[in-house]
Amino acid sequence: MKSTIVATVPPALQVDDSAPGDRWLTVDMTVNGVPRMLRAPAHRTLLEALREDLGLTGTKHGCELGECGACTVLVDGQPRLGCLTLLASVEGRTVTTVEGLGTTAEPHPLQVAFVDRGAAQCGYCTGGMLLTAAALLADNADPTEAEVRAALAGNLCRCTGYASIVAAVRQAARMVAGGASHPRSGAQG
């Protein structure tokens, strides 16, 4: 079922004039398998739209300047920083957030491995870590430790729990190789 969501409009933005270009945009996209239509100001970022318009707060506001990776989501299977992606630029695309990676009943192998390894401390970076790692595993089913570290180089963990995170990603790779399923894996695009 398709739902249309209109962003909350600050009154100052409701003025229209005849200048070229759009102050408001209507954007169609698929979020975690559900078609969504959003009407929002042109300066809405994907991060703001996901959290504030769609209520998907698993994607975190971190630095908001592309310096931490906490807001990483998958757009057509590729990691993107929600804070530096305009909502306008995901028109027609498929977005996967951490909510779409797995469920409590049916977690993604990465989520199982993160729990096993205690790879989440405060948890703020975890969503971004999971999605970046999901894209890595979709691309490289058996990454070396160095490859995992290189792939996660843009995701900062201020608890500095990197050793467990890297171990969890490698454990998830082994679980998938051993036949664990990845439900609705967004990394497949």
């Binding site: 908001e64 993107r80 306008a88 843009g154």
Partner: protein
């Protein structure tokens, strides 16, 4: 939270439409490609354009072409569309094979996710950076604003009447070292310029693009025997913009260096070609002594300012070391041939 300021969004579907829009909207418009440089500038209030012209839907800016149709001297040219992602530059087999220095420089930019978002054109046109301007509005207000952002004094060199913000592109030095050509479209048609001519030494306006002009693509030619290298200095092994970048390219004929390029980034508002170092290398066998002399020439020629990460004196010292190492690395890529006359033996490991 940091929100983007409001703007009007335009998404042209062709290059001529994009150029037309830019010409019409003038200085109130900014171009949006990957957004990884522009959006932070907007969020920090360093720019407040009325219009954003998104280039993603402009087909002429996409793709990598082995260029039968481009201006190629020897038939082995390559054209890289401005919207080519930086990640794509690290992966492209034809680039890895013929111009490995480009993929290497690209691999040193930012982080994997930022590389897959950011573009070639965006990196070449990256705004100049400075510790006094790439800050929150609160920080800038407390420190006192500067020339580059509504203020009237340079905080790095208050006695000067210019902005010293540093060119921070990693691809620019490498492209200049390879004598890349940049194709630019504008209201008065197209022009092709050497990569070096895209830049001027002015932190406020370091690109020589005129109003309404857009970088379309980068053309690389491969005269035989060119070997190149790039080294980058930064505090962390990911994320950081360069505190120093050194690109070298040598065209070798037998044991002699026919032509040399030595280009240094992040020590001025434009990438600097170090003519003194190039002269030392050109027309000579690249002995260890000559490489060392060229590195000394770089050390003499540059004057880094205290405006990016790491102290200027240290960056100047490292520029000397990096120049020598980059030259050695480039020479090791020369197809193996017996060295003679005291030349560093090409093909040697280590």
């Amino acid at each position: 939270m940091l929100h983007l300021p409001s703007f009007r969004y335009l998404a042209p579907r062709s290059l001529s439409e994009a150029v037309g829009l830019l010409a019409e909207l003038g200085a109130e418009a900014q171009l949006l490609a990957g957004g990884t440089d522009l959006l932070p500038l907007l969020k920090r209030g360093q720019l407040s354009p009325r219009y954003l012209v998104a280039l993603a839907g402009v087909p002429e800016l996409s793709g990598i072409r082995t260029a039968a149709e481009a201006t190629v001297r020897d038939g082995s040219g390559l054209t890289l569309g401005a919207l080519t992602s930086i990640a794509e530059l690290t992966r492209q087999p034809v680039l890895r094979r013929h111009f490995p220095v480009i993929g290497h420089a690209a691999s040193l930019i930012a982080t994997p996710t930022l590389r897959s978002m950011g573009t070639l054109g965006g990196n070449l046109c990256l705004d100049t950076r400075c510790t006094y301007v790439n800050r929150s509005p609160l920080w800038r207000e407390a420190a006192g604003d500067c020339l580059k952002c509504t203020g009237d004094v340079c905080r790095v060199a208050p006695g000067d009447d210019r902005c010293w913000a540093a060119v921070s592109s990693d691809l620019a030095p490498a492209m200049i070292a390879l004598d890349a050509q940049i194709r630019i479209a504008g209201p008065r048609g197209e022009r092709v310029i050497p990569a070096e001519a895209l830049y001027r030494d002015d932190g406020l306006s370091h690109l020589t693009l005129s109003a309404g002009e857009i970088v379309v693509d980068v053309q690389l030619l491969r005269p035989t025997g060119v070997c190149a290298s790039y080294m980058k200095l930064r505090p962390r092994a990911s994320f950081d913009f360069p505190s120093l970048g050194v690109a070298v390219a040598l065209r070798m004929a037998k044991d002699e260096c026919e032509n040399a390029r030595v280009v240094v980034g992040a020590v001025a508002s434009r990438p600097l070609r170090i003519a003194e170092a190039e002269v030392i290398l050109t027309g000579h066998v690249p002995t260890a002594e000559r490489l060392s002399a060229a590195a000394d020439a770089v050390h003499r020629a540059i004057r880094p300012m205290d405006n990016v990460d790491l102290p200027p004196g240290y960056r100047r010292q490292v520029a000397r070391v990096f120049t020598e190492r980059a030259l050695q690395h480039a020479l090791r890529q020369v197809p193996a041939r017996a060295g003679a006359n005291g030349a560093l033996t090409p093909g040697r490991q280590n």
